[in-house]
Amino acid sequence: MKKSLLAIALLAAAFGTAAPLTATAKDISLLNVSYDPTRELYQDFNDAFGKYWLAKTGDKVTVKASHGGSGKQARAIIDGLDADVATLALAYDIDQLSEKGKLIPKDWQKRLPHNSSPYTSTIVLLVRKGNPKNIKDWDDLVKPSVSVITPNPKTSGGARWNYLAAWAYAQKKNGGDEAKTKEFVGKLFKNVPVLDTGARGSTTTFVERGIGDVLLAWENEAFLAQKELGVGKFEIVVPSLSILAEPPVTVVDKFAKKHGTEAVSKAYLEYLYTEEGQEIAAKNYYRPTLASVAKKYEAQFPKVNFVKIDDDFGGWQVAQKKHFSDGGTFDQIYQK
């Protein structure tokens, strides 16, 4: 029994997906459709949950995970990829599951604590060793001599958080003056030589191609770049103001019901909120929301002044429409 579980865990680690080896009535298979940088997180978490569920109920759960750009993943679910749970980069993409797909209720975000975001992250500045351009804050990114790398907010969920963090800073600095804020963000994007389509693409451009002086990145992605891609080659700079990124999770009711996996899907997401789940998140550089775990990892995550999407931007629906729809502020800054 234990041996076959280990085999499954190994398979899961090897392929990021696990196929049930022996088909008995108590084999349960879940599909978690997630966004790009959560690969490592869910690899660890799926193993842990499998063990937990086996001990609790005697059922064997194998969780398959699919990763990709957040918007693309949401579209795949709407178009019929039958995910039991969706764990995406921003609430707007999950809203679409309700709005376009009618797969989940409209108030999905109220069903789990912390806006259904078991872990959070933020946007930080990753610079090259020794910080040669002396980048300390958002102000330094609009200097003409600085080259900034960020993905395209139109195609990347992470880049939307980047954009809004810069926007929030400029707004605060200019006392809420919209024209000046737009000018600031416009100047920042003038310094962007490459707009990759996704967060991992930008990390590659910055780390492997050696382009740019600073990378706007998810905090977890920045840690990863620093620890795994180039030890000692990069430094993380925490800006004076950033945004609290809340990547939310939900059960995809319609598909879970179809598969008869509602209970286990719910338990899967709830397990993210437990001490074990939060530990795994913290180890993968996501900020835990559970106070006890947050305290334990205090040293890992620097203190940041946060703005929040709901308090400062009126929620994702409003922010998306104002900034990223056709003709929104992002399009305007590129208009000649």
């Binding site: 395209n152 139109k154 962007v192 707009l195 389509t197 050696g210």
Partner: protein
């Protein structure tokens, strides 16, 4: 109307299969795109497909594709010539290399080209001090499109060149034609239709290319953003109808261009026959 008698049997059956096959594979999916666009009013449609950013992307996509196809026409012809006319060690390997861009996943091509042409890459680090930036500029787009279009010209011209008997050239020479006249008057007219076909195929392939370009382009609006990326971007915003609107415009332009090239070929063939 009297039933036409064909010399070859099975006309009705094979035509039926051809039409069914074309409908299933080509016409039905494409008409779905047209139907999806009808969700927009004409004014909305027009506003989407003529937005300045979209117009800039047409210019880049069609311009870069045209230049890439042109480069391929010249150097593809040269490659085909070398492969057909000369014997040298390693010829088989070079012949096989030509097909590589067909077989390679385009993303691999994009990543490889970017790695080589980026400022810290083998070629890029050598070019950049001279002020030539390739990766993340429109020049990079042209290079990627040239790469993926290479086999088309070579593979269409090669068989025609092989069929061309060297006796005709020798005859031209013995009648007093110099090398240049032999080429322009004897060889070129024979391979011209194949060259045009190769050009059209390379051009069409380049217009639709996404995978390799996306890595090397830089994707900056108004500078290095190709039309397929605009379509993806619109999908990312869940604007299915406007994404298909841009797609339909590409479809129509591509069709018209291919149609024009085919027409040119037809005209040329007739013209050539009349001369003979």
């Amino acid at each position: 109307m009297a039933k036409q008698k064909n010399v070859l049997p099975g006309f009705n059956l094979s035509l039926g299969y051809t039409l069914l096959y074309l409908s299933l594979i080509v016409l039905i999916p494409l008409s779905a795109a047209f139907i999806k666009t009808t969700e927009l009013s004409f004014n909305e449609f027009w506003a989407v497909v003529t937005a300045p950013r979209v117009l800039a992307s047409y210019k880049l996509t069609f311009g870069a594709s045209f230049l890439a196809a042109l480069i391929n026409a010249v150097f593809g012809l040269l490659t085909a010539w070398v492969l057909v006319r000369y014997r040298f060690p390693g010829k088989k390997i070079i012949d096989a290399l030509v097909d590589l861009p067909f077989a390679l996943p385009t993303a691999v091509a994009g990543i490889a080209l970017t790695a080589v042409y980026a400022g810290n890459g083998w070629i890029g680090s050598w070019l950049e001090p001279h002020g030539i930036k390739v990766a993340f500029t429109p020049l990079g787009v042209i290079i990627a499109l040239t790469f993926i279009g290479l086999p088309f010209v070579v593979r269409t011209v090669q068989p025609v060149l092989e069929d061309l008997e060297s006796e005709t050239e020798e005859a031209a020479a013995s009648l007093g034609a110099n090398r240049w006249q032999t080429f322009t008057k004897i060889i070129f007219p024979a391979i011209w239709p194949a060259l045009l076909t190769g050009f059209a195929l390379a051009f069409a392939r380049a217009i639709g290319e996404y995978g390799s370009v996306i890595f090397i382009a830089g994707n900056v609006p108004f500078v290095s953003e190709i039309t397929p990326l605009i379509i993806i971007t619109k999908l990312e915003q869940y604007e299915y109808a406007s994404a298909t609107a841009v797609a339909v415009v590409m479809l129509v332009i591509s069709f018209l261009l291919l149609f024009a090239i085919n027409g040119l070929q037809w005209w040329f063939n007739r013209h050539a026959r009349a001369v003979r």
